[in-house]
């Protein structure tokens, strides 16, 4: 069952997918459904003995392309809609124990190519308004499978957070001589320099001035590219290099493979023009505030939407930069 219900108090859709209650939950490594299928072994999601990078439709999708009209009709105030969309799983490697941080720049570069291909293909589907590429990593984030993988949700609407960001960028543009909000933010970060963690030729990783998590980091394209699909070959290589430096920095700083949420923000695929408004970037939200303490989204964050952060971005960026530079030297 895939169903959307409208929340008129916040002006946003909520997706219901009750079948997800039955999804595979932290199986032992020898029964990982994301491994390749070994000769004589149990059949996994991937019917080959090895693979490079694989994408498949999620067996337990939050949104489905053939979602029926909901049985629950709702009301004019609280309408419902089919939970229509596409949910994919992206397997980064057939090595069950690999992590993105531990992968070669070449493999990350190949993954960038796959992400760009999925953005283009899913974005071309007429009911898809937003292609959201993300990774939940680590049990602290609630992952149910440890195998290195990310996900893609192709939504039939622009989800609230990217929507707010786009509205802010459009507003800024209209009030500032058509300038891009993100380009100006990046210019400020470069000029200040204290929160820059890793700088490549085409991408920069930094802890934003207004980070919502202690070790939140954003990876911005230097050029105002609306989406990952619009990146040049050189830019894609540089994105892989900067991602690698940031991720290795995270793991070196904490001394273990750091859990995180990684999300990509880019142009919606609803047919509107987002040139100069959408600026491709990746955001990381690690839940850790120290090696053994987590930042929970509690009353203020969840109920009020007001984040309280225990550390200043300048401090966390300095530590993260040192770790990333150590990894790079």
């Amino acid at each position: 069952m895939n169903q959307l219900r409208w929340d008129p108090t916040l002006g946003e859709w909520v997706a219901y997918a009750t079948h997800r209650q039955d999804r595979t939950f932290l199986p032992p490594a020898e029964y990982c459904p994301l491994d390749a299928t070994k000769p004589g072994g149990f059949p996994t999601e991937v019917p080959r003995e090895s693979y490079d990078i694989v994408v498949f439709e999620n067996r337990f999708p939050s949104l489905a392309p053939d979602a029926p009209e909901p049985e629950e009709e709702g009301s004019p105030l609280t309408p419902t809609a089919p939970g229509r969309g596409i949910c994919e799983v992206v397997l980064y490697s057939d090595d069950h124990y690999a992590t993105l941080a531990g992968m070669s720049e070449e493999r990350i570069r190949n993954l960038v190519e796959v992400w760009a291909d999925r953005y283009e293909e899913l974005g071309s589907v007429d009911f898809v308004d937003y292609v959201f590429i993300f990774e939940n990593k680590g049990e602290a984030i609630g992952v149910t499978l440890h195998h290195p993988h990310g996900q893609i949700y192709a939504y039939p609407f622009i989800p609230p957070r990217p929507k707010r960001e786009l509205e802010a960028a459009r507003e800024y543009r209209s009030q500032n001589e058509e300038r891009c909000l993100h380009c100006d933010l990046l210019a400020e970060e470069h000029e200040d320099g204290r929160r820059v963690v890793a700088k490549g030729e085409h991408f920069t990783a930094f802890v934003p001035f207004y980070a919502h998590f202690p070790y939140e980091a954003h990876v911005y394209a230097r050029r105002c590219a609306p989406s990952i699909a619009g990146l040049s070959g050189d830019e894609r290589w540089d994105l892989a290099r900067v991602l690698k430096r940031l991720l290795v920095g995270y793991d070196r700083l904490f001394g273990f493979s750091l859990p995180y949420m990684m999300v990509m923000h880019q142009a919606p695929t609803d047919g509107e023009d987002y040139e100069g408004v959408a600026h491709f970037h990746i955001e990381f939200y690690p839940p850790n505030r120290t090696a053994d303490k987590l930042k929970y989204l509690a009353g203020s964050e969840t109920g009020a939407g007001a984040y309280i952060v225990d550390a200043l971005p300048e401090q966390t960026a300095e530590a993260l930069k040192e770790a990333a530079e150590g990894a790079h030297s």
Partner: protein, 56 residues
């Protein structure tokens, strides 16, 4: 639904596709198949001469 998506409905496996790529991009081969339950699966492979060691 776009033609591109409809073209890949269950039961319509595709031959490997060598995708268009920007300058400097690795060669990517894309093979699309359908699983027994009708879901699609896409195998992406790249030139292995570009594959370096994994750091662990």
């Amino acid at each position: 639904m776009s033609d591109r998506f409809e073209d890949n409905q269950p039961g319509q496996d595709e031959a490997p596709v060598h995708g268009a790529r920007p300058l400097g991009a690795p060669e990517m081969v894309k093979e699309r198949e359908n699983k027994e339950d009708g879901r699609y699966i896409i195998f992406y492979s790249f030139g292995h001469d570009e594959e370096a060691r994994e750091d662990g």
